[in-house]
Point group: D4
Chain length 246, copies 8
Amino acid sequence: MHEIQIRKIIKNAADSKISIGDAIKKLKFLPFEDLGFAKIDHHRALRKGFPEVVFCQNKTKEQAVAIIRRLALNNNDVLATRATEDMFNDVKKHIKNAQYNKISKTIIISKNKKPKKGKILVLSAGTSDINVAEEAAVAAEAMGSNVERLYDVGVAGLHRLLSNKEKLSDANVLVIVAGMDGVLPSVVSGLFGKPIIAVPTSVGYGASFRGIAPLLTMLNSCSPGVVVVNIDNGFGAGYFASLINR
Amino acid sequence: MHEIQIRKIIKNAADSKISIGDAIKKLKFLPFEDLGFAKIDHHRALRKGFPEVVFCQNKTKEQAVAIIRRLALNNNDVLATRATEDMFNDVKKHIKNAQYNKISKTIIISKNKKPKKGKILVLSAGTSDINVAEEAAVAAEAMGSNVERLYDVGVAGLHRLLSNKEKLSDANVLVIVAGMDGVLPSVVSGLFGKPIIAVPTSVGYGASFRGIAPLLTMLNSCSPGVVVVNIDNGFGAGYFASLINR
Amino acid sequence: MHEIQIRKIIKNAADSKISIGDAIKKLKFLPFEDLGFAKIDHHRALRKGFPEVVFCQNKTKEQAVAIIRRLALNNNDVLATRATEDMFNDVKKHIKNAQYNKISKTIIISKNKKPKKGKILVLSAGTSDINVAEEAAVAAEAMGSNVERLYDVGVAGLHRLLSNKEKLSDANVLVIVAGMDGVLPSVVSGLFGKPIIAVPTSVGYGASFRGIAPLLTMLNSCSPGVVVVNIDNGFGAGYFASLINR
Amino acid sequence: MHEIQIRKIIKNAADSKISIGDAIKKLKFLPFEDLGFAKIDHHRALRKGFPEVVFCQNKTKEQAVAIIRRLALNNNDVLATRATEDMFNDVKKHIKNAQYNKISKTIIISKNKKPKKGKILVLSAGTSDINVAEEAAVAAEAMGSNVERLYDVGVAGLHRLLSNKEKLSDANVLVIVAGMDGVLPSVVSGLFGKPIIAVPTSVGYGASFRGIAPLLTMLNSCSPGVVVVNIDNGFGAGYFASLINR
Amino acid sequence: MHEIQIRKIIKNAADSKISIGDAIKKLKFLPFEDLGFAKIDHHRALRKGFPEVVFCQNKTKEQAVAIIRRLALNNNDVLATRATEDMFNDVKKHIKNAQYNKISKTIIISKNKKPKKGKILVLSAGTSDINVAEEAAVAAEAMGSNVERLYDVGVAGLHRLLSNKEKLSDANVLVIVAGMDGVLPSVVSGLFGKPIIAVPTSVGYGASFRGIAPLLTMLNSCSPGVVVVNIDNGFGAGYFASLINR
Amino acid sequence: MHEIQIRKIIKNAADSKISIGDAIKKLKFLPFEDLGFAKIDHHRALRKGFPEVVFCQNKTKEQAVAIIRRLALNNNDVLATRATEDMFNDVKKHIKNAQYNKISKTIIISKNKKPKKGKILVLSAGTSDINVAEEAAVAAEAMGSNVERLYDVGVAGLHRLLSNKEKLSDANVLVIVAGMDGVLPSVVSGLFGKPIIAVPTSVGYGASFRGIAPLLTMLNSCSPGVVVVNIDNGFGAGYFASLINR
Amino acid sequence: MHEIQIRKIIKNAADSKISIGDAIKKLKFLPFEDLGFAKIDHHRALRKGFPEVVFCQNKTKEQAVAIIRRLALNNNDVLATRATEDMFNDVKKHIKNAQYNKISKTIIISKNKKPKKGKILVLSAGTSDINVAEEAAVAAEAMGSNVERLYDVGVAGLHRLLSNKEKLSDANVLVIVAGMDGVLPSVVSGLFGKPIIAVPTSVGYGASFRGIAPLLTMLNSCSPGVVVVNIDNGFGAGYFASLINR
Amino acid sequence: MHEIQIRKIIKNAADSKISIGDAIKKLKFLPFEDLGFAKIDHHRALRKGFPEVVFCQNKTKEQAVAIIRRLALNNNDVLATRATEDMFNDVKKHIKNAQYNKISKTIIISKNKKPKKGKILVLSAGTSDINVAEEAAVAAEAMGSNVERLYDVGVAGLHRLLSNKEKLSDANVLVIVAGMDGVLPSVVSGLFGKPIIAVPTSVGYGASFRGIAPLLTMLNSCSPGVVVVNIDNGFGAGYFASLINR
């Protein structure tokens, strides 16, 4: 559509229907749409097989459902995060193959199944970090990655972690989810040297300050190879892990 | 130059030297430069009579002087902020009409004097806020505004403020610079209702936390009509005041 | 009324009904009321066509409704912000032409429609920032400004922003509402150079710390021409935009 | 009782019923109780006419009511702060002359009315600060002070404050309660020079951070003569005001 | 002077030299100066025997010395705080009876000695808090109060405090200066029940955060009767103590 | 089990069923499980008579109950902290001798009573700190320590503390629980010199910032001999006290 | 060495020189060293061509130089970060081919040049962020990556960024270094969708709080595909970029 | 001395030299001194073999040296912490056997060598934490404990830690000193279960915020058995370790 518009302007100039000066003037107002196109192209190249993503937190049910439906109608795969069960029930009425995951609070609408690639390992330090870990795992799977889970392997149960060293050695990239002291990424990085995406969680009490404590621990990790995403941002970690897993 | 480039592409297509398809392809890679042009155009319209601005803090003397000289050679007016006397001495060697203001720490290189417009009043609460206030005043003058100063009129000397109410009534916009408790903008806004750009300063001690206390006071002002810029950001306040003074 | 009082005192002194000493003593107690008058005069000059404003948050329903009714009875236009639907229902019983806006949570009581002036553009980065953006828009309209809206044009959808560049070029002043990373004002200022009033929102999660993150981003904007109001303070932004739109 | 105990020990030693060594040993274990006595004596001297005070917040209804009843049975005047209506209803069943103040959330049990002394003026900046202001006023009255109130006299309505300058001049000490920007104490101190006890309130939104903003403003007041108590601590301000009002 | 001005206006009206309307107009512009006067009057009444105060921190030597000299020439007593020895040497050249206190960093210029009144006790928790404590003591003395000192009586040496209980009982008001944990005011208030002005100091290390820790401790004191001033604000504490000591 | 596995490998090598090279390879993958064993051995030696501990906060009822039941079935003593009454009711259905403590919110399942050792004294500053203090006391008892309680002995009631000096002298280690100003550990340490584990509580209001204020006070204690655990972490204090009480 | 030790134990058991029981006992104490080996193995596999890294900040010159020399003697490539010129001069005396980079403050000792792989693009928003950006670039190069630089392309000069879109499209991974508002990563992610490692810098003033503002901006980026490392941690970003560039 | 005083009073009463009433009155003023004695007694019992401690930071050289000399003259062992070399040189002039430790910045004056008891292990995560670790070690030795050191065993070099497991098993109590991410105490506690006193250090950069990051990590440790002292407070950790080592 847009390319057609440019073609018409140039053609008109070539056909002397408009002066070259006018053609320039018209073209000067196009770049932004062009930029828009360029951007989408880039992304398409980039996102091959990636679903559209809807972040439902802080949206009303009506807003969230309307966006999800509009995307699904355009035959896109859709991943909706932070979705309530109530939102899902509404979506389900219209889109039969929509699926809900109570733990990760995600809705998945999947049109065409493709083979998963690579290997991402998602670890959680405690049982109460599993929600965020699942969000990361579901996101990475939706982006086309093979994902393995290893939950509740915090430092107090270090032997559980160590007895799974094959899983750790096999993965291309690790997503590590931890609240409270947030030490797990530092320890795993010191032991295995894999690229780690660390996710602090707001789970905890007292001086964990809703995730600030593990966030700081992770940012200050003395082992290189650890990068950090926002508190509770499982999706961001899973998405980034998929970007580099390919 | 850039416009010439577009003209050439279209002309070549019109002259059938290149195909329309090729013309489109070439034009698709231009928008960014075009965007750059567009932006500069906008700015030129906007900035009529505005100098180029160089922020010298956190730059080495070499970096700062090189940038200032390059801009001045292109026949621009130049305003350099947070400039040390040492930087000025270097600039002075090459650009004879450069002028330094020790209090505001600004270098001014002015090619063509134009009449000042409107009226901006810059107030400071204390004597130790004057450096920042002068930066605001000098910036606003460099941007083409008439500026009046009213310094050391803090709340403890409220009568000094009130005895200058004509100045306050005459101004289109007020820049108010204050450290410590930062209450002056709230008080002046309550009394005079003019648009106020509040500048917190890092001057102070104890629980002023290098400007956080007055910043919070100003953000929480119960009088509407107060907006805030960064701590010690006299330039930003003077610049914004000039934008709205016209 | 007050002027009459002063006149009487001076006349009594002129008529020797009271001594000059007594006149001085009486006049010494007047200045404050005088100041009060002066202030109201100033404001009247300033506020031509401005409504009275009631901030309802942290007030009981009884308090809010009583204040709104009292102002409305004096034939004022009234704008009530942060008003609950419950407050509105009570107001509606007494004032038939009161109108409620569920999104901005504002009550408007408008006596005399006047033509709007200038042009303010209100942008929001995301859909969840719309409540605050609407508060700004409604406030600016109530203050007599033409307001255009451009919502959900965050940096992830930059092309949506760029495809509306005419709206951006036409406006005198921009109000930009954004949560989370709060980068939109910096980007728009870099592209269009208009005076921008940035409003951080508390919408978000994790390390946005209920608006601190976008507040800091906006205060530290590297593009001049950005000033900031309190977190979620749509009203303050709309009010200030109207002050400078005229 | 305690004095009797000491007397007995010395008398027994004097009567040779116990050895001096034993008397010393027994006395060596008394000082703490003695200290307790001393403290109460001091306080009694100090508190002439002061009630016993119970801080009910963070106590269960059962705990609060039990403490209030025990104190009241010992014929004390009692002031209970942060008391819920539910607590009061329970107290009322047992103590008929107990009185509840819904705004200040205080229970007063008063045995013997004494003439009030001095003059304390309690000011609030906004209507939403009145709860805390009333706690201060009720506490000061319970401590035996004359208290006058002046509410909703914030900086936006400075003329309301100034038109009450007689009240301000008459008072020995001012309690000033303010949220948001918390500028009122600085302004009043600059104008009237009275000793001021400033109380920040948690009422507000955005960057008031539940009282941190006005707390910092007050601590950084550029006018001497301002001291500060904890956020929302009306009782502490009223108590201190009474201590120095006498 | 000002009163003469008012008198002249009224007299001129009485003498029909100017119309009553003109007299009103002239008087309408006076209130602010009038307010200034009123303020000074109040202060004069209040400050009987109080010196003028100059806060030298954040002022250049030139600024500080100029202000001190101007005040001293008008025959005022002067108290300069946060003054460097360098500033003093300059002052000394011009004003022979100026005196410097190295510990409190204060300059005193005293014209007329008056008898001191009341009794203020200044306590410090540690030896490193003495600078601030001396500033409080010197300020209170300059304001006309008798001051006694009791230094290095922190909680680790509680017996030293307790062995001075007569001093504590004799004082009207206590100024307590403490860094690090800042517990001394709570303890003394629990034991003696006197009105206490607590001064947190920035002396310390680690999690004292340059005075935040003792500031919070003091604001949260569980013993009523404790009010707080800014970190290191010895002057403010001494000034307030003098206000209530009279 | 694991030891058997190692034995088998070595035996196979000794019996020449596998080569020494293969034995080495197999053993190289064992150390982690070995480490796990080592750890448990250490702990078993350490924890003689210690129960298994389940931290129920941030766990679902289903998760918490499942873990408790699994541990109890293995004939372990179990201590569950932060357990709701609802969780207990579920546990009770399956494990008859489970006991719930409403104040400390703990579930205890105790198989074999052993004699308690040593002496730990748990103090609380206020009545609202008792929940956390009880958690500490119950934990220490479950770990096999004799525990004595001394509640509501804050600095305002210092004589109550001092009249119990025998209890304080008898204890090996003190756990001191305090909110608001958190001064009790400093004072007790100054008076008695015992090792103190200080627990800040989130109980309070205003500038106690949900436990930050007492946390900082305790960390900055000027009396040595005070160590600190997380806000509200009664369990951690009781556990550590038991470790050093033995 | 270590493997020999294990071999000996097993051999001794096979040869019946020690009992199997004794062999087990001996092996039980090895795992840690084994773990050490395993770890080094992993790392060696991982780090093919990676130098040893020494972080010199907070080390004395003596410590830093000793560590660097020891590593270099073992024929390792060495990268020393945060090294002073003074440290380098000492190193240079002993190791002739050591090279110093003044901007990145790095020492490189390179034994065997290998071909660089992939493509990393390092961007800086301002000229004052270049030090940190160079640390990232040098680190990535030392790790074996091709690195391209694009400096001073902040949002105020967005066209400079856009005119380099080929560089941005070519890179596998971007390292983006920015201070103040830190918006560059969000903008670039929105435009190009590449995996971005964002590095906040402490360069700035006022409310940038030595890097907290850009850190929060980056953590809250609304564009997925952005991960964050510690403030000024150029090395960590370059290291992680190299891990995922391969 | 004090006991003699009490004896005299009782004896005088017994001998009827003073009335019992007078004896009571006199005794009522003694408790504080008595308390002082009691405290010293307790401490003497407690501190058997402990030196007097002088904290030199924030003291002038004159103050520090005077205190050290006074204590040494009374034949006490003395430990001075945070002492500069300059202070030591002054002390050395008067006290010949004074010894200085440059790393821990401690002065030791030791009169009578006694056999050390128990076993404390002091660990540091990095080389730059050694200063603080040495302060802890020296303090614990001065208090009479056997101390072993294990430095630079951070998580990145976990195998170094693990290869020293005998030292870790032998110790009664561990002091663990760590900056940056501060994860070492959590890891060691998870592996060995010993009582751990964790010391965060201010060494680091970026988001370690001069020790806040490791402080929070340690407070939030998911492994019980970890308690925390102030940032850089090596002395406090060594002192507490000695208290519980006995």
